[in-house]
C-alpha cells in the first residue's frame, strides 16, 4: 500500500486518490498516540526550504521529522541565504538535493514546488506555492474531519473567506472532490470567488457546490465551517474592505444558529476572522486540527521516505 507514496513528490492534493489518503490516515493514527522519539528515519536528512514566512507548517514539519529520528536543515526567508545574493531558486534546490534526502519547499510563486520537483532527484513536498496548492494542509483538514465525524462523505460544508488567493481554502476544496460531500457552499465577497481554473476543476470532478455571499444564508444547513482570512491588501479600495469585513467574522452567536455538532476549522494563523469567544466553545476544532499536523506530517515523511 505504502509503495504509492514511496519517493513520490507531493505537489497537489489532486494527485491523490481517496484510497491514498486512507492509507495516510491509517498511518497517522499510529503516530497520534506516540510521544517518544522514534528512529524510523534515523540517518535521513530533511531539508526545509521556506522562502516565505511560516510558523506552523515549518515547525510541524521540523517536529515531525525530528520525532521520526531524522536530522533537519533549514533555509528560512530569502534574506538569510544566498538567494539574497542573487542565486537562482533552481541552484538552491540543486544544492539541497545533494545535501538531503527530502526537500520541503514553500515559495510565493505558483508552481515553485513543481519546478523544484523537476530539478531535484529527491522527493519534494509542497508546503505552499503562492495562491495555488497546500496539499499537506488539505490532508490535515480532511483527517481532522474524519476524526471528528468518522467520515468525510455525506456532510455539508461551507468554505468562508478568501477563496481566490487562499491556497489552503483552494486545496481543501480540491480535497473534498476526492470524496462525496452532500454539498459545498463557497462563501466569499464577489471579488474573492474561486478562480476560473478552480471552478473548471470542481465542475469536471463533479463536486456539488454553490457560491454564496453570506454565511448566514447557509449556517443552519452545514456540518463543517472552514474559515480563512480575508486580507485587507486584496482590496484596492479600503472602503470596500471595511464594508465586507464584518460579514466574514465568525461569532459565537452566528454559530449558535447552526447545528449543535457544527465544527469550525481554520488552517491558522487567524487574526480577527473568528471572534475569541468561539475559541473555548464546542464549535472550535482549529486547535485540534493544528495538533493533527504532526501525525499527518510524520505519516507522510515516513511513507515518502520508504519507512512504511
Amino acid at each position: 500500500m505504502s509503495a504509492k507514496f514511496m519517493f513520490r513528490d507531493i505537489i497537489s492534493i489532486l494527485d491523490f486518490t481517496r484510497e491514498d489518503l486512507e492509507t495516510l490516515f491509517e498511518f497517522a493514527d499510529r503516530f497520534i498516540k506516540i510521544n517518544e522519539k522514534l528512529e524510523i528515519l534515523k540517518g535521513k536528512i530533511v531539508a526545509l526550504a521556506f522562502f516565505e514566512p511560516s510558523t506552523r507548517t515549518r515547525l510541524s514539519f521540523e517536529v515531525a521529522a525530528k520525532k521520526l529520528g531524522a536530522d533537519v536543515i533549514s533555509i528560512v526567508g530569502e534574506e538569510a541565504s544566498s538567494i539574497a545574493k542573487g542565486e537562482s531558486f533552481a541552484d538552491t534546490i540543486r544544492m539541497l538535493d545533494s545535501y538531503s534526502d527530502l526537500i520541503v519547499v514553500r515559495h510565493r510563486f505558483e508552481g515553485a514546488a513543481k519546478y523544484a520537483a523537476e530539478i531535484a532527484e529527491k522527493p519534494v513536498i509542497n508546503a505552499g506555492d503562492g495562491r495555488q496548492h497546500h496539499p499537506t494542509q488539505a490532508m490535515i483538514d480532511l483527517y481532522t474531519i474524519k476524526k471528528l465525524f468518522g467520515e468525510i462523505d455525506g456532510l455539508t460544508y461551507a468554505v468562508l473567506g478568501d477563496l481566490r488567493y487562499g491556497r489552503a481554502a483552494t486545496s481543501f476544496i480540491y480535497g473534498l472532490t476526492l470524496y462525496k460531500p452532500k454539498k459545498v457552499y463557497l462563501v466569499s465577497p464577489p471579488q474573492l470567488r474561486i478562480r476560473d481554473e478552480v471552478r473548471r476543476e470542481l465542475i469536471d470532478r463533479g463536486l456539488v457546490f454553490e457560491e454564496k455571499n453570506s454565511i448566514l444564508e447557509v449556517i443552519e444547513e452545514i456540518d463543517v465551517l472552514y474559515v480563512t482570512r480575508i486580507q485587507k491588501e486584496r482590496f484596492p479600495d479600503p472602503v470596500e474592505y471595511e464594508k465586507v469585513r464584518g460579514s466574514y467574522i465568525v461569532t459565537l452567536g452566528m454559530l449558535m444558529k447552526g447545528k449543535p455538532h457544527l465544527k469550525v476549522l481554520h488552517p491558522l494563523p487567524k487574526v480577527d476572522e473568528i471572534d475569541y469567544s468561539v475559541d473555548n466553545s464546542k464549535y472550535a476544532a482549529y486547535f485540534y486540527q493544528a495538533k493533527l499536523g504532526i501525525p499527518i506530517r510524520m505519516a507522510l515523511l515516513s511513507l515518502v521516505l520508504g519507512a512504511g
Partner: protein, 160 residues
C-alpha cells in the same frame, strides 16, 4: 485589369519553401512573430493581407522561400490561425499539405500571464509549458500555476 492577372502579379509561385494559406485576415504579422521571423534572416518572404478568399471572405497568405516549416512550427501557427493550411513546396509543386493543429503541449512559445507564476521568475532556467485542455474553444492551461488562457490572450503572450 482582370482580377486573375492581379493575383498572378502579387502572388508569384515559389521554387521551394512554404506557403501558409487561409490565415484569418489581418493575422499574418502575428504568425511571422510566433515563427520568430523578423525579416532580418534574409529569407525572401511575401506577406499578403486581406486578399479575397472563397472560404473565408478575406484572408492572409505568407510565402517563405527556402524555408520548410517543421511540424512544431506548423503547430504553433494553429495557436493564432486555426484555419491555416500549410503547403510545402519543391520545384514549384506542393509536396506536402497539412492543416495547423494545436499541439497537446505548447512549450516556450507563450509566456504565462500570471506575474507570480514560477515561469515568470527572474533568472530561472525554466521554459513556460501549457497543456491544451480544449481545442474548440481553444483553452491552454499553464502546467505550473494552472492559469487558463484563451485564443484571444495568445497574441499578447507570444514570447518572441
Amino acid at each position: 485589369m482582370p482580377s486573375g492577372e492581379v493575383h498572378t502579379l502579387i502572388v508569384p509561385k515559389i521554387l521551394e519553401g512554404t506557403v501558409i494559406d487561409h490565415i484569418p485576415a489581418g493575422k499574418a504579422l502575428e504568425i511571422l512573430k510566433v515563427l520568430g521571423i523578423s525579416g532580418q534572416e534574409g529569407l525572401r518572404i511575401a506577406v499578403l493581407m486581406n486578399v479575397e478568399s472563397k472560404k473565408l471572405g478575406k484572408k492572409d497568405i505568407i510565402k517563405i522561400e527556402k524555408k520548410k516549416l517543421t511540424v512544431d512550427e506548423v503547430n504553433v501557427i494553429a495557436l493564432i490561425a486555426p484555419t491555416a493550411t500549410i503547403n510545402i513546396i519543391e520545384n514549384f509543386i506542393v509536396v506536402e499539405k497539412f492543416k495547423a493543429r494545436v499541439p497537446d503541449v505548447v512549450e516556450n512559445i507563450i509566456k504565462c500571464p500570471n506575474p507570480t507564476c514560477i515561469t515568470n521568475k527572474d533568472r530561472e532556467p525554466l521554459k513556460s509549458r501549457f497543456r491544451t485542455i480544449s481545442r474548440e474553444p481553444l483553452l491552454l492551461q499553464c502546467d505550473y500555476c494552472g492559469v487558463i488562457v484563451t485564443r484571444d490572450d495568445i497574441p499578447r503572450l507570444i514570447r518572441r
